[in-house]
């Protein structure tokens, strides 16, 4: 039976932190640690979760946790794993929580190396679609059209010109033992994936969408709702990669309105109907590819 609210560890391992009210990333970290339990060792690079979790003497992690260099999440995870293994300790899970910038831009080579060595680590990327901790700069996981401080919206250029990189498929292309995408809007699905990953030996990668109310321009109580809507409208999808094949966990029969999803966020408010059409077209193209290559669960 998969894990649920009743069977989940009642202990809080991420508590009293200084994340903004309604932070999606902190929810992802909190839930993942509750699934993994006190024998997990968390590694956090520069980014929101290390900035809000370690304000000495306020130390918000109830388990062992350590800050790594920005680029070195995966290499420090390897070190934690190798060090404890050398001491004969086996009942632990080394888990990394890096943001989208720390994963897809700065930490990509370290992650690639760890997957290549197939070290027994779990890497969780909480994707809030920009460098939120430093004040909203574009990362390679920022979606098309989003306004950030480095991709401002003006008369000629309307926000980010590039499409979001598909980090999940990049991780899968290494032939990783387990990779998955998730959303904090579907928390039971996320919990089940973290639990499944913790039982697989080898490198695991989970990419979880974690909206940032500050950077996305939504109210703090809408974080979970918008994380659900991004899946329902087809701009994000819940999938798994295992034993060399892709599996889609949720195939909406009919997508909800992309325009509604876009219009409720401050970062997209400059977009015109033409831009929204570009977004819808790229979504349809992606789903065409998904229907061809992914199997339905």
């Amino acid at each position: 039976m998969s894990i649920n609210a009743k069977t989940l560890d009642k202990t809080e391992y991420f508590y009293g932190h200084k994340a903004c009210a309604g932070c999606g990333g902190s929810l992802a970290v909190r839930i993942a640690l509750k699934v993994l339990g006190k024998r997990s060792i968390a590694v956090l690079p520069a980014g929101c979760m290390s900035a809000v979790g370690f304000n000495f003497p306020q130390l918000c992690f109830g388990n062992n946790a350590i800050i790594s260099t920005f680029a070195g999440t995966a290499s420090m995870l390897t070190g934690v794993y190798a060090g404890l293994k050398a001491q004969g300790i086996t009942d632990f899970q080394a888990v990394g929580f890096a943001g989208d910038g720390g994963t897809a831009d700065i930490g990509l080579q370290a992650l690639s190396g760890a997957i290549d060595r197939n070290d027994d680590i779990l890497y969780i990327c909480y994707d809030n679609e920009a460098y939120m901790n430093t004040g909203i700069q574009k990362s390679s996981l920022t979606p098309f059209g989003a306004k950030t401080t480095t991709t401002p919206a003006g008369k000629n250029i309307r926000g980010n010109l590039r499409q979001k990189k598909n980090m999940f498929e990049i991780a899968a292309a290494h032939d990783i033992p387990y990779a998955a995408t998730a959303s904090i809007g579907y928390i039971n699905d996320f919990m089940a994936k973290v639990e499944k990953a913790s039982k697989i030996r080898g490198t695991k990668y989970i990419h979880v969408i974690a909206p940032c109310p500050t950077g996305w321009g939504v109210a703090s109580d809408q974080t979970v709702d918008i994380a659900k809507e991004v899946v329902d409208c087809g701009l994000w999808y819940l999938a798994e990669y295992e034993n060399g094949s892709f599996k889609i966990n949720r195939r909406p029969k009919e997508f909800s309105s992309v325009e509604e999803y876009i219009r409720r966020q401050g970062r997209f408010k400059h977009l015109n109907d033409e831009d929204i059409k570009v977004i819808i077209d790229s979504r349809d193209k992606k789903w065409e590819a998904i229907d061809k290559t992914y199997s339905l669960q």
Binding site: Y15, G16, C20, G22, C23, F56, Q58, L59, C60, D221
Partner: protein
């Protein structure tokens, strides 16, 4: 069990660790001052479904005797609990 608020706040230089390790879950400040609105649970309507407990980014909600209970020391008043509460047992009240 959660990390809890400690009475002793390290203040002098010899109380600060010289190595890289310090006790996990050592809390010295509350977050309650961040709040403009506070969630209030109507225990008569609450069915103890645990949705608010599950989705709270700060983990301040626990279920005690089948009803949700909030730790106001660390609640930031984001209102996610109210949004995810299906029976509508949570209302937001302005902080005075």
């Amino acid at each position: 069990m959660r990390p809890y608020l400690r009475e002793k706040i390290p203040s002098s230089i010899d109380e600060i660790p010289s190595a890289t390790a310090y006790e996990a879950g050592y809390l010295v400040t509350k977050n309650s001052g961040w709040r403009n609105v506070r969630p209030v649970i109507d225990t008569a309507t609450c069915v103890g479904c645990q949705n608010c407990y599950l989705y709270c980014p700060d983990g301040v909600i626990s279920i005690e005797d089948g009803k949700a209970k909030i730790d106001y020391d660390f609640c930031k008043g984001c209102g996610i609990c109210r949004t995810v509460c299906k029976p509508g047992a949570i209302r937001m009240e302005a902080e005075k």
